[in-house]
């Protein structure tokens, strides 16, 4: 029981990761692939933050009356990763827009078909 309570968090994170992974490898629609990548990304964030949590700890901002703080380092890494993540997502979406303009579709297999027929 204690083992489950101590680890359920990681298992849900792995489940989420795998859902994202599944969307990326099994679906052909490029927008959906990006959504899948984002799910994967968010689940990695949750994994990092789970590791930073300390029992009975609080937010790492000094305040009177609190002594145990959670680990600030993963917070910093993830904080910047989120903003970088949105920047890369925007780049990927821009590429999708250009692909649509060039191929007229955002379905992966249709794009492949066109490439072969050329």
């Amino acid at each position: 029981m204690e083992f489950v309570l101590g680890h359920y968090n990681y298992w849900v994170v792995i489940f989420l990761m795998m859902v994202g992974f599944y969307i990326v490898i099994s679906r052909g629609n490029l927008i959906k692939k990006i959504v899948g990548l984002n799910i994967f990304q968010v689940s990695v964030f949750i994994l990092y933050i789970s590791m930073s949590t300390v029992e009975n700890g609080t937010t790492p901002i000094l305040k009177e009356g609190f002594e145990v703080y959670s680990n600030p380092l993963p917070h910093v890494l993830i904080l910047t990763a989120i903003v970088v993540g949105v920047a890369t997502t925007a780049l990927a979406l821009a590429l999708v827009v250009r692909i649509k303009e060039a191929y007229g579709t955002i379905e992966e297999d249709e794009i492949h078909q066109q490439d072969h027929s050329l």
Partner: protein, 138 residues
């Protein structure tokens, strides 16, 4: 979104959002917040304006050339703080030299680089929005 209620409510909200964004920017040292968050909130205010009043008026508030300039200015500000500390005889980004003592120098340094981060993030987010929304305009 031509509708009147939305216009009146947005008029009330937008200045509050901008002020709140700036509050988050400058209180990153004391509470949750900082340049990354503030930049995003600030750009959200302008995105709301664009959604309610139209894209063209929103693009007039911050002209494109200035927006592009600001995006690089933030990064230059950040990197520049590092060079200033080198000029003062220390290492790159050694904030302690900026003030009279270690702690006050750190405060100035952190304030400046957070400002750089905020400016870059806000302008890049707006560049994203304007590029996507403006694409396909006749």
């Amino acid at each position: 979104m031509h509708n009147l209620i939305l216009r009146v409510v947005s008029k009330v909200l937008i200045p509050l959002i901008i002020l709140f964004g700036l509050y988050v920017q400058f209180h990153g040292e004391f509470g949750p917040g900082g340049g990354f968050q503030a930049g995003v909130i600030f750009s959200a205010a302008i995105i709301l304006y664009a959604l309610v009043f139209g894209l063209e008026p929103a693009e007039k508030i911050i002209p494109k050339s200035i927006l592009h300039l600001l995006a690089s200015f933030g990064l230059v500000l950040y990197a520049g703080v590092g060079f200033v500390t080198i000029m003062l005889g220390g290492n790159y980004l050694e904030y302690g030299l900026l003030g009279s003592d270690q702690v006050s120098g750190q405060l100035i340094g952190i304030l400046l680089i957070e400002l750089g981060v905020g400016i870059t993030v806000a302008s890049v987010m707006l560049i994203f929005f304007f590029s996507f929304a403006g694409r396909g305009r006749p």
